[in-house]
């Protein structure tokens, strides 16, 4: 073929492309005449062209029609077409420039109604921020009145296609599926139901070599669903919203009124089914071919075959499905039967009360399966129970620890439990009987007639309280309060809160608003809010607790001491350091005078104070306090208590910041062992020592080990606290530094940016955490050579720190120093020297300055050397004070950015007001 022939073929091809398929033949016959070879050539190419299903033909400007009228978007190409309309890749030009996907809804919908429904959900949609959800940005109307949605542009292919083309094994598929569940869970927590979960709405994209599923179209199904009363709209099944194969029985009901989050759980079940088996539970052809009413009936009434059964039924196809999963049909069937069958069937229950109640529970069961732990979804069997026996022992240990710590600390703290036990013998006997009743099943040496997990036992206990204790609301309230605190200890905030609130309300009704038990309830409720990351609201509730105490038992009462400590915590989190220290000191005075200086209660405010001092850069003082906390707790609780673990972790941080890495590491290792033993390897308490040990590993150059430890810590915390909890930044920041060191700059940058988002959302723009997040990214940018960006970020961070802490706080010294380095590298001698002087004025020093290549341009400069001499003096002074340390490394940029962890739960203990009736 010559280039002339080629040009002729191309010309005809392009012209034919723009014609509707049925006019093409006529056109080509006319143009090619007797040249059959030419016509065949064009025909063949057109076939290849039309076969492109994932990505349609590019659109010429004229074909865009009314899309041209959407201002602030520049449409680039069509990327898909479905029953609802077309999807285009577009560039948004204002207010921000970004790549978006524009979904333009086909004719025939009531645009105003669509937009109104979208508007009603817009706020909830804006709150969604999750790596597995594609954001929906906006909705609007084209010139001709068609509604459109703009959303995050995802380059990816449907999850089922991805898994098949990459021949992912069952396990790999499950890991991706768990991420999908997390995304849906995130949306549910913000009140958004997807309603149209299906593989084509879950696109898999690659980030840092990892497949990341992204759920698209959140909020769109709701906006575009027609009123479901009229049959007429279902005449065209292909365009039926809510694809029938993935539609839940309650959706098939068509009443349209009673859809909740569990409809997504069902659809997730279908997606899982398809990922595992390669087929949908109900065969698509027979389902759609059966007629409308029959189809609905089948969805509502017919039980689909189990995945393993379905696989065996498919005969020839099963071998293909197995190959796509890198296994044989026999092995695949074996893999699916058992756990996975049960999990899928539980998600697909017709009665939604019998399904997993949340996507997270579904994901948790999948995770249990992957970890060879017994799953929740299971028919009873001897073998199965035996497996579960082992697991329950572990949980029993954890629970016993939590309950005992709670009781001991609570008892010693204020003596409520014991005092009241004597005084109110009748009530307390009931309490003990009750607790023995519900926890009795946990005796590791006992026999098990049932297969309950700790959650189920607690759930059952909580549900029984009202029945068992009818007519004794205050005893019931006490138990709810206690179980609520146990839930908090286990990190189950969503279960803790309703119980604590019920206890509060009962007490309010029974005792009136100025009773100290009401203060107890307010104190724990405020603490719960703070543990969930909501410090502002938590502080408000705690303030009310103080008012109640003041009006009843007086501010000198021992119960007030711990509330003051919690208030200190709230102020610290909100960035108000002076207030925080003030409340801390008041709390210490109160608790010391009520309980003694060497007793457990005082360790809570001391612990908080150590954190704040370290935050201000006063590491040595923080270490002194930390030692005292540890000593008291070890004395009173023995060496293996989880509260001792927290004390160790925090003291280790102070040591680390002072350069004593050997001691620090040994302490973190001990803390880790304590928490793993006391609370199990997946408890949130494990994640912080793990993080610091990962940092130590990274320092030793064992980067891959460090990476897997960071990953584990992140996963633990994400599951325990949620993906946007502010406490995540303490793991993600050093993790991001590590990623850069591993050469994964883009991933590191994204993680730093995620930190900024988390901090800004949790604390607002004017907070030390936000400043730290900004300087984290700033440091990163300077290392990878984006100096201008680094300059800007560090400057913003410095400004915030000065506003929050004052220009003379020692911590701000490090921020000045960062700026000095940037000025030096930029060649701005004056700027560098001035910032270095400002840093020194805060009392700051760092032994790494001597070797910092950023300052090389200044070496030998007399003014610089004078400043260096001062730094050397300070380093020497510190070195001579430091016992047993071979290297001194405080405040190297990475370390300095770390903020310590706060204790998990031991501050939140049972009611401790005493002598109420006396």
């Amino acid at each position: 073929m010559t280039s002339d022939d080629h040009a002729r073929v191309k010309e005809l091809f392009i012209a034919a492309c723009e014609l509707p398929p049925d006019e093409r033949r006529e056109y080509l016959e006319r143009e090619c005449g007797s040249d059959v070879a030419l016509k065949d050539e064009v025909d063949e190419l057109l076939c290849y062209h039309d076969a492109e299903t994932t990505h349609g033909p590019s659109v010429s400007a004229t074909a865009l029609g009314d899309l041209e009228s959407i201002s602030s978007y520049k449409v680039l190409q069509k990327i898909g077409e479905g029953g609802m309309g077309e999807v285009y890749e577009a560039e948004q030009t204002s207010p921000v420039q970004r790549r978006v996907a524009l979904k333009v809804i086909k004719w025939g919908m009531d645009t105003k109604e669509v937009l109104a429904r979208f508007e009603s959900e817009r706020q909830a949609l804006a709150l969604m921020n999750h790596p597995n959800i594609a954001k929906v940005f906006d909705a609007g109307m084209t010139e001709n009145g068609r509604p459109y949605f703009s959303m995050e542009f995802v380059k990816g292919i449907p999850i089922t296609d991805y898994c098949d083309t990459h021949r992912l094994s069952t396990e790999e598929r499950l890991r991706i599926f768990i991420q999908v569940c997390r995304g849906v869970q995130h949306a549910h927590q913000r009140g958004v139901i997807h309603r149209d979960m299906k593989p084509s709405n879950v696109l898999v994209t690659i980030q840092d070599d990892q497949p990341i599923p992204k759920i698209i179209d959140f909020g769109i199904a709701k906006a575009t669903s027609q009123r479901l009363t009229e049959r007429t709209i279902f005449t065209e099944l292909g365009t039926w919203i809510g694809t029938p194969e993935y539609m839940s029985p309650e959706q098939a009901e068509m009443t349209g009124l009673d859809i909740d989050t569990r409809t997504d759980v069902y659809s997730l079940g279908v997606v899982l089914y398809e990922l595992l088996v390669g087929a949908q539970p109900f065969d698509s052809t027979t389902l759609r071919g059966a007629g409308f009413d029959e189809m609905r009936r089948r969805i509502r009434e017919e039980d689909p075959p189990r995945p393993s059964t379905r696989l065996t039924d498919r005969h020839g196809d099963s071998e293909i499905a197995a190959q796509r999963r890198r296994t044989s049909a026999t092995n695949l069937a074996r893999e699916l039967s058992g756990d996975l069958d049960w999990i899928v069937m539980k998600a697909l229950e017709k009665d939604r009360t019998r399904r997993y109640s949340t996507p997270l529970e579904l994901a948790a069961d999948v995770r249990r399966h992957l970890g060879n732990e017994p799953v929740e979804a299971s028919p009873p069997s001897t073998v199965y129970r035996l497996g579960k026996f082992v697991r329950r022992n572990r949980v029993a240990v954890a629970t016993a620890t939590v309950v005992l710590t709670a009781l001991i600390l609570g008892t010693i703290g204020t003596g409520v439990g014991m005092v009241r036990a004597r005084r109110e013998a009748r009530a307390s006997r009931q309490v003990i009987q009750f607790m023995t009743g519900i926890f009795g099943g946990l005796n590791p040496t006992g026999t098990y007639g049932h297969t309950e997990s700790i959650d189920e036992i607690l759930d059952r206990g909580a549900a029984q309280i009202d029945d068992t204790l009818q007519g004794q609301p205050l005893v019931a309230a006490y138990l709810k309060d206690l179980i609520g605190r146990v839930y908090m200890g286990l990190g189950e905030f969503s279960k803790a809160r309703p119980l604590l609130e019920e206890a509060y309300e009962t007490r309010l009704v029974e005792l009136g608003g100025d009773h100290p038990w009401v203060g107890d309830s307010l104190d724990i409720l405020g603490s719960a809010r703070m543990l969930m990351g909501d410090y502002e609201e938590g502080l408000g509730i705690l303030d009310r607790a103080i008012e109640v105490y003041e009006g009843s038992v007086g501010l000198d009462h021992g119960a007030v001491g711990n509330t003051l400590s919690n208030i200190c915590h709230a102020h610290w989190r909100l960035g108000d350091y002076r207030e925080a220290i003030g409340f801390c000191d008041r709390s210490v005075v109160n608790l010391e005078s009520n309980f003694g200086a060497d007793e457990l209660p005082v360790t809570n405010p001391l612990f908080n104070k150590a954190i704040i001092l370290r935050e201000l850069g006063e590491n040595a003082e923080a270490r002194e306090l930390g030692r005292r906390v540890l000593e008291i707790r070890e004395n009173k609780l023995g060496p293996d208590n989880t509260a001792v673990g927290w004390a160790l972790h925090d003291l280790a941080l102070s040591c680390e910041f002072l350069g004593d890495r050997t001691t620090s590491r040994a302490m973190q290792e001990r803390a880790l062992a304590i928490q793993e033993k006391a609370l199990g390897p997946e408890s949130n308490a494990v994640s912080m020592p793990l993080t610091r040990l990962a940092v130590a590993k990274a320092r030793d150059g064992e980067l891959e080990d460090a990476r897997s430890m960071f990953q584990r810590a992140t996963e633990i915390r994400e599951i325990a606290l949620g993906v946007d909890h502010p406490d995540l930044v303490w793991i993600l920041r050093p993790y991001a530094h590590l990623l850069r060191d591993l050469g994964e700059e883009a991933a590191a940058r994204r993680m730093f940016e995620r930190n900024i988002t988390i901090a800004e959302q949790a604390y607002g723009p004017d907070h030390i955490e936000t400043a730290i997040a900004l300087s984290g990214l700033g440091y990163h940018e300077s290392v990878v050579g984006n100096l201008a960006r680094a300059h800007e970020l560090n400057e913003r961070s410095l400004e915030i720190q000065i506003r929050v802490l004052g220009a003379r706080a020692r911590r701000v010294g490090a921020a000045y120093y960062n700026m000095a380095c940037i000025h030096a590298v930029e060649g701005n001698r004056r700027g560098a020297l001035d910032h270095l002087q400002l840093a020194l004025d805060t009392g700051w020093w760092w032994d790494g300055v001597e070797a910092d290549s950023d300052l090389d341009s200044l070496r030998g400069d007399p003014e610089f050397e004078t400043l260096m001499d001062e730094i050397r003096l300070r380093v020497e002074a510190a070195r001579s004070q430091l016992d047993a340390s071979d290297h001194l490394g405080i405040q190297d940029a990475e370390d300095f950015l770390e903020v310590p962890e706060v204790e998990g739960f031991h501050e939140f203990l049972p009611s401790r007001t005493t002598r109420v009736s006396s």
Partner: protein, 199 residues
């Protein structure tokens, strides 16, 4: 120093389009910088050879761009010129790699590659060395028949350029690019599937 290079490259990029006559830089001035940076980045990725690790050329070009250019001083047209050069270099590096140059001593396996999504004839899957070589040959054959059309494909595949961006680089209308592109995709798919059938 990193920022010296950044200043220099940024300057070249902005002279690519703004100045006239002798002041106007050519893509050739940019090439050595882009080549060095991309080769360094690519080597780092390609040498890692972890299982399941795939290379995304457009991501690398983007990374090089961020490193070499002060983005506050360059507009989208400058960026596009940079990416066009990047596409050319990337194709060269990838084909070298696929042929096994510079890898023999390491004894490493072959890197899998993901081209700009949705643009390749291999929709939704990674390419191995053979795919890459076949694609390269196909592009060479296409270039003999229609050089501009092959260029369109190169810019799209290896640089991830959009239709308007390609139009800017080749100084033709978007409509022309769309036509070239649609036809080239069908043409390449046919070429590659013939190869597959003949194997």
């Amino acid at each position: 120093m990193a920022e010296d290079r950044e200043t220099e490259v940024t300057e070249i990029v902005s002279r690519l389009k703004n100045a006239e006559g002798a002041d106007r830089a050519s893509a050739e001035d940019l090439l050595p910088h882009v080549y060095d940076e991309l080769r360094m980045l690519a080597r780092r990725y390609l040498s890692r050879e972890r299982p399941g690790h795939t290379l995304q050329p457009t991501a690398l070009v983007h990374e090089a761009y961020i490193k070499l250019v002060d983005q506050s001083k360059v507009d989208w047209q400058g960026r596009t010129h940079f990416f066009a050069v990047g596409a050319k270099v990337m194709r060269h590096l990838l084909i070298d790699h696929a042929r096994g140059k510079g890898r023999a001593k390491r004894g490493g396996g072959r890197q899998r590659v993901t081209l700009a999504d949705g643009m390749t004839p291999f929709v939704g899957r990674e390419l191995d060395a053979e795919d890459l070589l076949a694609l390269n040959e196909g592009l060479d054959r296409l270039a003999e028949l229609d050089a501009r059309q092959a260029k369109v494909v190169e810019l799209r595949f290896f640089g991830g350029l959009t239709v308007p961006e390609v139009a800017l680089i080749l100084e033709v209308s978007q409509r022309t690019v769309e036509g070239d592109w649609a036809h080239a995709r069908a043409w390449l798919k046919r070429e590659l599937s013939r190869r597959g059938a003949g194997r």
